[in-house]
Symmetry: C2
Subunit: 395 residues, 2 copies
Amino acid sequence: MLVQKYKDMLGNKSVIRSLSEFATARGKEIGYENVFDYSLGNPSVPVPQEFTDVMIRLLQEKSSIELHGYSPTLGIPSVKEKIAASLERRFGVPYRAEHIFPTSGAAGAIAHAVRCVSEPGDEILTFAPYFPEYGPYINLTGAKLKVVPADTENFQINFEAFAEMLTEKVMAVLINTPNNPSGAVYSTETVQKLAEILEEKSAQYGHKIYLISDEPYREILFEGVDAPYVAKYYKDTLTCYSFSKSLSLPGGRIGYVAVNPACEEAATLVEMCGQISRGTGHNCPTSIMQLAVAETIGLTADLSVYERNMNILYKELTALGFTCTKPGGTFYIFPKALEEDAVSFCNKALKYDLILVPSDSFGCPGFFRMAYCIDTEKVERSIPALRKFVENEYR
Amino acid sequence: MLVQKYKDMLGNKSVIRSLSEFATARGKEIGYENVFDYSLGNPSVPVPQEFTDVMIRLLQEKSSIELHGYSPTLGIPSVKEKIAASLERRFGVPYRAEHIFPTSGAAGAIAHAVRCVSEPGDEILTFAPYFPEYGPYINLTGAKLKVVPADTENFQINFEAFAEMLTEKVMAVLINTPNNPSGAVYSTETVQKLAEILEEKSAQYGHKIYLISDEPYREILFEGVDAPYVAKYYKDTLTCYSFSKSLSLPGGRIGYVAVNPACEEAATLVEMCGQISRGTGHNCPTSIMQLAVAETIGLTADLSVYERNMNILYKELTALGFTCTKPGGTFYIFPKALEEDAVSFCNKALKYDLILVPSDSFGCPGFFRMAYCIDTEKVERSIPALRKFVENEYR
């Protein structure tokens, strides 16, 4: 018999995907260039040429066994070394190869991190607004995701609500900074305070509360933003990373878990990831992708378009009267809707060929997300539509 | 706190890996070319040049989004179509794209198949001798792997033992043909009889018993062997495939689940795989690998070396008095050891720089495995060592 819990998940189409399908269908009617599709968080800038050149060189020069042979369960040692060295150089945390576990993107990284530190029935906290896939990521392990209500003022942390929910059952806290969907970046003050509370509660409860820091947007940071490296502030941090956004490489399925070397059991945690992967069928990311990101470590796609788009949208949205926290990074902006029901708001926007995502599925009703990983030219062309929408519907 | 079940798995080094490490260390003393290392099932022939050419062409010609964008959760449609068409052409089973779920190799395929059809506490049967990783693959899902004792005569199926163990608790049967470690290929008669029993017991118990057919060695078949395509004989078959062996591409992490279109819930099963992948962090194999295997579908590496090596070894082993089923495929041979304790037998072989794997971890004591995915020249050089070993130790 088919397993009911997975069968039950079918047909629950994600709002984002439905909107994206609407955009595609509408594009067939009026030309996709005329649909202002802000629905999907797909990197729009190309992979850097240097990355492609490295891939081609690897294919031309490496032996078949080096390039396409089995990767060791814990990842290719030279790759792990390069990632560790890069993190140490950039953030001053003395990672070594033994602290790095290459994964199939951030989803794979979170899947391993969560299984290391939580058993079925344990709780994991995250903060609204949050990436909706955290639900299945966590709940399908048997642990329970609980969502701390948002700090809707600044999209930092609602510490009051957090303190209430941080019970003895909580084994890990999952954060995402820079944040999808808010675009907010946790300040040094926020991260310090979070770390203090985790330390205090770990001591009080007699068990470690791990911090799982999901950082796929780490390289998309805007001018002048205070963007602390989370693991520096809390020793029991498992950093989950993906090259999807920084290299525009989501289909590459390549990222890692980096366990803070200050964590007493850091190397053990990485070895446990190797065991976990036997049960999930993960068995390492593609060897050639491991080698290619290691060879180009530190390289990013041209990410400047995202800040340019953000500035255009932020200026226009605030001018139109939207309440909106200025994003510190990512390619998302998260303004307050002009009516209480964000779904109704976003439905009205469709008439103007504006595809906006209501915030309900991010656990923070009343807002909407715009993913501005699209051409600047299109962002500019969307402004008159945005104005018309607001003026016709809300003035 | 770290999860104990994964912590407990650490330090339990696999016998195969320990032997392979011994071989590497010994190689440093006497030159690796002088170590007759039959331990690891790593393809030894290179990836075909045509495959490399396709990868380079994809990198040069495809847009960044096509090549490195997100793959849909259920896999890239054109890739699924090509795989389905190839299976239909070769085996006459009318697969369509909707029946194919691309995975990270056979490990990923099994991880999904098992989760579709079994809940924690359910039993899954496999047949000795079996690939030892089936243990963690199955048991870490919460289901229980039970091993049916071997048919040590022909390495087909011990139907008597099977009938006894096929209780109401069994939700799936996992087979591997061509088989690692025995090299045996299930005959049409075997597969037909297996299918009959599964049909009968499914009806009797009032629930389907799925057949999970792990077929990474499908393309490594030797002359004149009766090698039925399993799914043709049983409608509730989930075929798990990997391109690791056929293209010498284990580091590519690319394979698929193909659900028999005759299974009433075939398309639902594939959609369930998409949901399962959200919990395991799987999220599709690398896009470029999906595209490359689809473009080269039907292509294999030059697999002829394996049959050549098998013939040399089979002739020599039987001449030396070993009891040995002639392999029908794979790159393994599985003779009976010359003493009851295969571990002791294989330890003695080390003195002759012969690295043989005792069969205990395959659930079938008293035999040993030789993985002859090595150069023919080395196989030939190993023969005098094999003779000397047998003569000195057992004559």
